[in-house]
Point group: C2
Chain length 221, copies 2
């Protein structure tokens, strides 16, 4: 990491919290289907957020996430209904924090720390507050305020405006390849937290740094 960095902006879903920790809640309702539901649900959630951004039909991420769940249950021919939806949507508000997150954030107190999430406040705030993560950040930014989804340039611009810094003073961290591409395309410095040990996306927008998890941030200081 370069010394010019004045703020670090973290994505939330997949980067700080494990979206696939939802699997056990899914498994409880649908035995032996937890893994498949969790995987398909995440893919559909992302697809719907991308499509809504392209069509100009914004809906809060909580609505998008519920729609995605409803689709996936129908696709897998599983019985849904309001009660199951509520249970699984609630589980999305208590995803597991990755184990190293707090210890790393504690060591980064010389920087401004922020989050920038596609999550709407009704999902994002309970998630952050339940595990006491909210206190680490000066800015908890939801794209809900601009009614756009990442990787739209407007979301990164909104984040920059909130921080009042130059693009090159902001290090944007995400484990989502599409989010890194969007942040890089906008002009931020980027660190891809490659938790899944995946190949880089073929979008000609390579991350400036690639880390296995957040611990590497401490080695780089």
């Amino acid at each position: 990491m370069t010394s010019s960095v004045k703020a670090m902006v973290f994505d939330v879903y997949g980067t700080l919290f494990d979206v696939h920790s939802i699997q056990s809640a899914c498994e409880k309702v649908y035995p032996e289907k937890g893994l498949e539901i969790s995987r398909e649900w995440r893919l559909k959630q992302l697809e719907y957020s991308f499509l809504r951004q392209i069509m100009g039909c914004y809906q809060p991420f909580s609505a998008v996430t519920r729609d995605a769940l409803r689709y996936v249950l129908k696709e897998l021919q599983l019985e849904g209904g309001r009660e199951v939806e509520e249970e699984l949507m609630n589980a999305y508000r208590s995803l597991h924090l990755y184990p190293e997150v707090k210890e790393v954030l504690k060591e980064l107190s010389d920087k401004k720390l922020a989050v920038c999430s596609n999550g709407s406040r009704d999902m994002l705030l309970p998630l952050m507050q339940t595990c006491g993560l909210d206190s680490f950040f000066t800015h908890i930014v939801s794209v809900e305020d601009v009614e756009q989804f990442k990787p739209s340039p407007g979301t990164y611009a909104f984040m920059q405006e909130k921080l009042g810094l130059k693009k090159e003073e902001i290090l944007f961290l995400s484990s989502n390849g599409w989010d890194i591409a969007g942040a890089k395309s906008y002009g931020f410095l980027t660190a891809w937290i490659n938790r899944g040990n995946l190949p880089p996306e073929e979008l000609q927008l390579a991350a400036d740094f690639i880390y296995r998890d957040l611990r590497s941030l401490l080695d780089q200081q």
Copy 2:
């Protein structure tokens, strides 16, 4: 179908041609991996087109398709390289036409018939011409001319402008749920060709008609 329809606009990939007929070409190069490559390749191709639309980083669909192939081969830890890429990209120019397409199009000669595809001309025209499908259509429209990807409203607006008709005089047909959502959101009449027997997308943009394949168009006349 209502009698007010003056033009029928068909999507190409998945609607007229079976994108998964690529499987046998993949299988030839990578035995026992054909199905997985074909499925992942299509998903990544769509994801990259959506992301490029959102980020405002248009590249022709042929480049997007090649990038997607390159990613998938790396993800599946398969050896790629220029020669394999050329072979599989060429196979994408000779996808199988669905069996009923020509017989149905012949019967629809009282309407203006058009195609509107995310495909760039270097992919789309060889595909249409090789099987003699181009002669059925008055307009073969590639989004390349507006440098946007469906389901962006700009692509459907471009199609409408080419036809010179009112929105409600245009029936848009696609087997891709996201394409139907985009066309419906723009204001076209829509027919979802539900070849995969899938549940409708949960995007609150339901198709006006749902058909199992194109034959149903003749029953409805």
